[in-house]
């Protein structure tokens, strides 16, 4: 936001991307697969952060945008036989359209009412998926056939089931969304979003149509979440209604809170942290959810602004 060191911020982000790239060649198979999944879900968290962190709108319904991408892409492959890029685009389009409609309706409210309204819409979306079980597979979900998960680039075709292809595809999506997020929050538009979060009335009195700005943010956020969902369907080959349940609306909120709301890298850190805490503790005890809960409470006590938010506050004020 400030006029300081854009080069430093971009260097840091490119460094993170380079590190993730290098990790692909050294990680053991299990962690390699896990990290690919984490990167895709970190995109979900980044989309959520765009609205929650920067505009200050707390949605409890973002699972619907993730699932719009998930089902949009997955069903396009399964039922319509679309190619991978076309299906991905279909997922994005579904998410963007849904976000536009939900935004127009839900932005009439704010605060707690916004939380409830978004949660209700997501619940409706979830029930629709269950209702059209013959199409969606209901609560069983559907498997996207391996044969269809092939990305054809000119004369080469890349199987998305191949671990390296999958990892690199996830990394490519993650990198694009990360850099787009960075560019947005550093832009004039990003400054307006933060102003709305801080004081919407005042922002209006500076000549800003805050409704339109918030609506645009909902659409950007919903589309990013849909990109994550679409990638999930195509890379991991499964679409299921659990991803539309309320649990998947709360997870991105947790990831973002953990990593640091309104920080560009916080969503990755939060997702990574949460996955590994669950992963490590579930190896030792079946009561791992208890330990996860305790870890969360400790974090909120000692890092109230999330991991990266606290680091920014105490040491690195220039972090975007």
């Amino acid at each position: 936001m400030k006029e300081v060191s854009p080069a430093k911020a971009y260097a840091l982000h490119l460094g993170v991307i380079a590190l993730l790239f290098a990790l692909s060649f050294v990680l053991p198979e299990y962690h390699h697969g896990l990290l690919a999944r984490i990167m895709v879900l970190a995109v979900f968290a980044m989309g959520y952060n765009m609205l929650f962190g920067y505009v200050g709108l707390l949605s409890l319904g973002h699972a619907m945008f993730f699932s719009a991408g998930l089902y949009g892409a997955g069903l396009a492959v399964i039922h319509l036989g679309w190619s991978v890029p076309a299906a991905f685009a279909a997922g994005l389009a579904c998410g963007a359209l849904l976000a536009l409609i939900i935004g127009v309706l839900a932005l009439r409210t704010s605060g707690v009412a916004f939380m409830i309204v978004t949660m209700m819409f997501a619940q409706v979306f979830y029930l629709i998926i269950l209702y059209f079980a013959s199409w969606t597979g209901g609560d069983q979900g559907l498997v996207v056939p391996q044969s269809a998960r092939v990305l054809v680039l000119g004369s080469t075709s890349l199987g998305l089931t191949n671990p390296t292809v999958r990892y690199m595809s996830a990394l490519a999506l993650f990198s694009i969304v990360l850099l787009v997020t960075l560019a947005v929050v550093r832009s004039r538009y990003g400054r307006v979003l933060v102003a709305i979060r801080e004081n919407e009335e005042r922002t209006k009195m500076l000549g800003y149509d805050t409704f339109s700005n918030k609506l645009a943010a909902v659409v950007v956020s919903g589309t990013i979440c849909a990109a994550s969902g679409a990638a999930y369907a195509l890379l991991f080959g499964y679409v299921g209604s659990t991803f539309a349940s309320v649990q998947y609306s709360i997870l991105p909120l947790l990831w973002v809170l953990l990593g640091g709301a309104a920080t560009t890298l916080g969503p990755l850190i939060g997702t990574l942290f949460m996955y590994y805490v669950v992963d490590i503790t579930s190896g030792y005890t079946s009561a791992y959810l208890l330990i996860v809960g305790i870890a969360l409470i400790l974090l909120v006590l000692f890092f109230p602004k999330g991991i990266l938010g606290t680091i920014r506050q105490r040491w690195l004020g220039w972090l975007p």
Binding site: V194, L206, D209
Partner: protein, 241 residues
């Protein structure tokens, strides 16, 4: 010459209270107009109606020949009506720089100014003497500097009509002198509507004065005329004339 701003029968009720009651008002371009009146007279409510921050119960507002009664506040700002808040309302967690960058980039988007955001921001901060505090969070500025930042934000909107609601409240005497100079300079390029309790400031700055009492205009005229008006003295003394 056509007035820049006119209101006809402008009213606003809060429950049973007529905070602004059938006000007919006209403001000529280039004028510095002071609005005075006892606490609760309806001054802030009146300018809030003009800026669009609140909606009128009845009446009409015309700006530069166009009926703006039904325009949302943000659209009025884009027409050139800038409002600075009586209760300081800067973005406390953002730097002074970012506070001013918001209005600057707005006028750039609207095509009402040209150049880079940075230059526009620094110009507004320099005019208000805040340039060396550009990167301080606004919430950490002294109260007087926050008031000046409000003015800088108003200035940066490149207003045709700048509404200042008690801008000198809480300023030290030395700061008030600077402020008077600043308003004179602003008035070269904008019409100024100034709500002010500090009578020396009003007498030095105003071309004309409008006196509000109980939601109505009680008197209007040059500073000399208003000073001599018995009704005005009565309103301030709290006795009925």
């Amino acid at each position: 010459m056509m007035p820049l701003l006119t209101t006809k029968g402008l009213s606003r009720n809060f429950g049973g209270l007529r905070a602004v009651d059938g006000v007919d008002f006209a403001l000529m371009p280039g004028e510095i107009r002071a609005v005075i009146g006892p606490n609760g007279a309806g001054k802030t409510t009146f300018v809030s109606l003009v800026s669009g921050r609140i909606q009128p119960s009845s009446g009409m507002i015309v700006f530069d020949g166009a009926d703006i009664t039904n325009l949302p506040a943000y659209a009025r700002v884009r027409l050139g009506i800038a409002y600075t808040f009586q209760i300081t309302s800067v973005f406390a967690n953002l730097t002074a720089y970012d506070n001013v960058a918001l209005p600057v980039q707005r006028t750039l988007t609207d095509g009402r100014s040209k150049g880079a955001v940075h230059a526009g921001v620094m110009a507004a901060l320099e005019r208000t003497g805040l340039a060396d505090r550009a990167h301080m969070p606004a919430g950490q500025l002294s109260y007087g500097h926050q008031r000046l930042l409000e003015v800088a934000m108003g200035l940066a909107l490149k207003p045709r009509l700048l509404i200042l609601d008690e801008p000198t409240q809480g300023l030290a005497d030395s700061e008030i002198d600077n402020f008077i100079g600043l308003v004179r300079e602003i008035a070269k390029s904008a019409t100024v509507l100034l709500i002010e309790h500090n009578m020396p400031v009003v007498m030095q700055l105003a071309d004309r004065i409008t006196v509000f009492n109980a939601g109505k205009i009680l008197a209007e005229g040059t500073p000399e005329q208003v000073r001599a008006n018995a009704e005005v003295q009565a309103a301030y003394l709290g006795t009925t004339p």
